[in-house]
Structures are given as C-alpha cells and as structure tokens.
Amino acid sequence: MVSDDIVIEVKDLVRIYKTGEGLLRRKKKETLAVDNISFQVNKGELFGMLGPNGAGKTTTIKMMTTLLLPTSGTVSVMGYDVAKDPYEVRKHIGLVLGGEKGLYYRITARQNLRYFADLYGVPLSERDKRVDELLKRVDLMDRADERVEDYSRGMKQRLHLAKGLINDPEVIFMDEPTIGLDPQAARDARKMIKELVDGGKTLLLTTHYMYEADELCDRIAVVNKGKVVALDTPRGLKSLMKDMSIIEVEGFGIADKEIEVIRSLPGVRTVSATLGEEKQVLRVQVADAAEMLNPVTHVLEGRKIIGVRVKEPTLEDAYLWLVEGNA
C-alpha cells in the first residue's frame, strides 16, 4: 500500500535498450540505461536528479512519464502504474523536456499552447485565460502571436515551461528546464519552480547546474551509469565531504599532464578543471589542505599562478566525488 504522501514510487527499475545492426546476420546490441533503481518522491517535494550525460536520468523521466516502458520493475505516479494506466498518469502530470525541439515552429506560441490545452482536455471556458496567464508568467505575452521559429533559444525554453504547466498538473517533470536560458531568465525560471512547489506541486527535475540543484531541491538522487549512487538532501550530500577541503588554483598554461600528476598525488581524492582560453581553475579535493598545499603548487611550478585558496566543499565537489566512482 502506497502512502498518500508518496506521489512517485520507483521500484527496482531497469531499462535495457535493444538495437540491431546488419540485415542478414543481424547483431543485437543491448545497452543497460537504468540499472535497478528505487526511490520515492513525496507530495510537495522538489526532487532532483543529477548525473553526467548518459547516466540514465532522461530515460528514467521518460519511464515515469509513460513514454517508455520499463524492462522490469515498476513506477507509479499518483498511485497509477505507468505501464498499466498510462492515460490516467498523463492526466495528472506535466512534462518539460526542453531543448530546441518539442514545439511546433510554424505556428505561434499561443497556438502551440492552445493545441496542447485541447489535447490535455483543459475546459474550453478556462483555456484561453490559462494560455494568457502562462504567456504572462513566462514573459512571452508581447510575442505570443509570432511564429515560434522566430524565437530565440531562451524564448523556446520559456515556452516549454508554459507548455508543461498547461494542464495545471499535480506532478511536474522537468528535464534540464533552465538549459539555454540567460542568467536573468534562468533566475526567473528557478523562481517559478520555487513558486510551483510552494503552491503544493510535486516536482522532479534533472539539471547539470549544481547551484541550481543546491538552491532548489529538497532531496537529490545522484545517478551514474544507470544506478542511484547517492540520495540525500543537498546538505547531506555535502556532508559526505565533511573531512575534505578544496584547494582551488587559478592560473594560466596548466597542461593536462600536470593535472594527471596532481591527481596521482597521495592524499588527493579528485581534481576537476575548468579549462578556458584564458584563466584555468583547478579544484583539488584533499583530506588535509595544509599538508597538500605545497605538493600541489610544486607540480605547477613554472606556470603563471594568480591565486591559490582553500575552500569548503560544495555540492559540485560531492557530485564529482560520487560520479567518479567513490560512493
């Protein structure tokens, strides 16, 4: 029996993609995308899924939203099984897949929203009012009657958000909802997500932006290679790093070879590097910053170093530690 508070229940979920190549001697290939994962999402919770590309996040969302069938295991949303009662599940959920696709480009934003309102069975008496409200909410009212093909990527993403809310769903699935948005628009989107959850909606989102997950999510599942490698609150995940410190080095001309040498130093857990054309930033996770400061800077001798700081670990550090197979 599922508790009233549990809105999404994922149990022993497995998804294998089967593909074939060749005509006569057809070779079958199996790819394990989701590997026996289980979790629950409570009513009114904002649940995040973090993981690298290909980790299985989108496949999991597609199973939860009835677009894919599980190979084994079960998913129930609002008490309905996604495999047995897909139409019931669809009545209660909203889906924001995001990206450049998923909209009808040759018609206007208003026509897109009206079409989806009709397909979701939004009462005709409410339809146009709701479309206007959502257009205002995502700041597209001024350009509501222009073709979507003339929209910028950020505008398309905002229209995706509006489309996901057209049926006033109880559960909302968002796959990278702020991708492609400029900082202002991303901040507005996060504000909207918070308002939705404050208003009682249950929301599951995937994102690559750690600060977004940290700021928004009540709990986060870190997914890697199809498995949930950690599931906790942002604070709980960060506490995995409580005995660790971060040595952050900013400089120029740091080579991959040097990063590898730092990575192999005893006492170094992981190294992440942001390599731009100008400044490079290395984040070195170590158990004892005082002890490791000299060995790390020693490797970088001869490079132009503009700053070395010791910092507290962030969610990103915990995430990197987890997806690098340390869980």
Partner: protein, 261 residues
C-alpha cells in the same frame, strides 16, 4: 467528448500548419490535377460522362494522395520535430490526434476537385450537371470520412517505424486504380476486384456516381447499398486502427521508436 476534442483540435492544428506552409499543395494537388487534365484531353469530345468521371476521379485522387501522404508524414514530421513525444504524453490518445489531421488532409484534396471543375467547365466546356446534388454532397462527405479512416489505418505504421515512407509511396497508385477513381473497376482483371471491394472509397465513389450521373448503372447495390457497405468497411477500418494504434504505441514504448529518426 475528449476524443472529439482531440480530433477537432488536431484538425485545426493541421489547418494552421497548412496555412503556414502551403507546399503540401505541390505533391498532393498538382499531381492528381495533371493526371486528370491528361484524362480530360484524351477523352475530349467522347460521348458519355467522361468529363464528370475525370473531375470526380481527380478529386478522389487528390483526397487520397493528401490523406496518405500528410497523415503518415505528419507523424514523421512530429518525430523529426521532437513533438511526437509531447503529444503522446497527453491523455488524448494518438489515434484521435491523427484522425483529426487525416480529416483535414482529405478535405484539402477537395481543392483539387474544385480546380479541375473550373478547368473542365471553362476550357473543355464539360457538362457537369449533377443528377442529385444533395445525395452527391452526402456521398462526397461520407467518402471523405472513408478515405480518412483508410489513411488512419495506414498511419499506424508510422508510429512504429521511420521507414513507413516506403509504404506511403507504394500505396498511392494501387488505391487510385483499385478504387476505380479514374475508370470503372470492371475494366480491371477479376482478381483485383477482391481488393477493390475491400476498400471503402470504392463504394463511396460508386455512390457519388449514382448521385451525380442520371441513369448510372454501376454496382447492383445502388446508391444507399453502396453507402451502407462503405460505412461498414470504414467502421471496420477504424476498429482495426484503434487496435493497431494500441499495439504499435505499446511496441514503440518498448523499443523507444518515438524519438528515433
């Protein structure tokens, strides 16, 4: 009612796309138009109702071409566009969405008939007077729905596979010939008649001819008999299509073919 709403919304949606991108006209209206023109020229001056045959045949070809081409390809377009998943995620049911689009697409084919009508009257001085305009209109609309039902049946293949375009190409001409659009199916070898009789539009075209041509002597079923058989066959198409859509939608959820282009 939700099903009717999905049909109506998808009909409107297809109409909006048609207005936004009228290039559908080229393969679906121009080609049957050209074929009909050839027939009109070939039979110019002949006794009988060849002009009416050509006009009706051209109209039917346009309707079928549009139904088959656009209904099928609208799924493929949605797949390319990334909207197939978005519409599938709604509770409407894909079959009703495609049904609305199919009806619009069949309706567009009427433009073809209208163009030919004007050309037949203006350039070929054809006599196109209708024997019974009311029965003609009724038969015409029923045939439109029958063509839509046939298009719906075939479009289920597009949900399952991106290779279904081959099916579209392969089915265009057999239906033109098999339904007797351009000439009576009595002219065809006997064994092809089995196929012809299993096609709803064959009976629709027969009804249209009964209504349009005074003293027409076609199938023994007459006007109403042909209409009834068309209705039974068309409803059978819809029933099979509902079943097929359920099966292919399930299969597509298994093999993830909604997103593979």
């Amino acid at each position: 009612m939700p099903k009717l709403r999905a049909i109506a919304a998808s009909f409107r949606h297809q109409y909006l796309h048609f207005l936004a991108d009228p290039q559908w006209l080229i393969p679906n209206v121009i080609l049957p138009f050209m074929i009909t023109m050839v027939v009109l020229i070939m039979f110019q001056g002949q006794q009988g109702n060849f002009a009416l045959y050509a006009v009706l045949g051209g109209g039917m070809m346009g309707m079928w071409g549009n139904t088959l081409y656009a209904s099928g390809w609208s799924i493929q377009f949605d797949r390319w566009n990334g909207t197939l998943e978005e519409v599938l995620a709604t509770p409407s049911g894909l079959i009703w969405i495609i049904a609305g689009r199919s009806i619009w697409n069949a309706l567009v084919g009427i433009f073809n008939g209208l163009f030919i009508l004007v050309i037949a009257i203006v350039f070929f001085n054809a006599d196109l007077s209708m024997y019974d305009p009311v029965l003609f209109l009724l038969a015409f609309l029923a045939t439109l729905l029958s063509l839509s039902a046939l298009g719906l049946l075939f479009s289920s293949a597009f949900v399952l596979t991106r290779q279904a375009g081959v099916l579209t190409n392969g089915l265009e001409y057999p239906i033109y010939v098999g339904t007797g659009c351009m000439f009576p199916i009595a002219l065809l070898p006997w064994w092809t008649n089995v196929l012809s009789y299993s096609l709803g539009p064959t009976w629709g075209i027969e009804s249209i001819r009964y209504a349009a041509i005074g003293g027409y002597e076609g199938f023994a079923t007459g006007y109403w008999g042909s209409m009834a058989i068309m209705a039974i066959i068309s409803l059978t198409y819809v029933a099979i299509a509902i079943y097929l859509f359920r099966v292919v939608e399930m299969k597509a959820r298994v093999n993830a073919s909604f997103v593979r282009y």
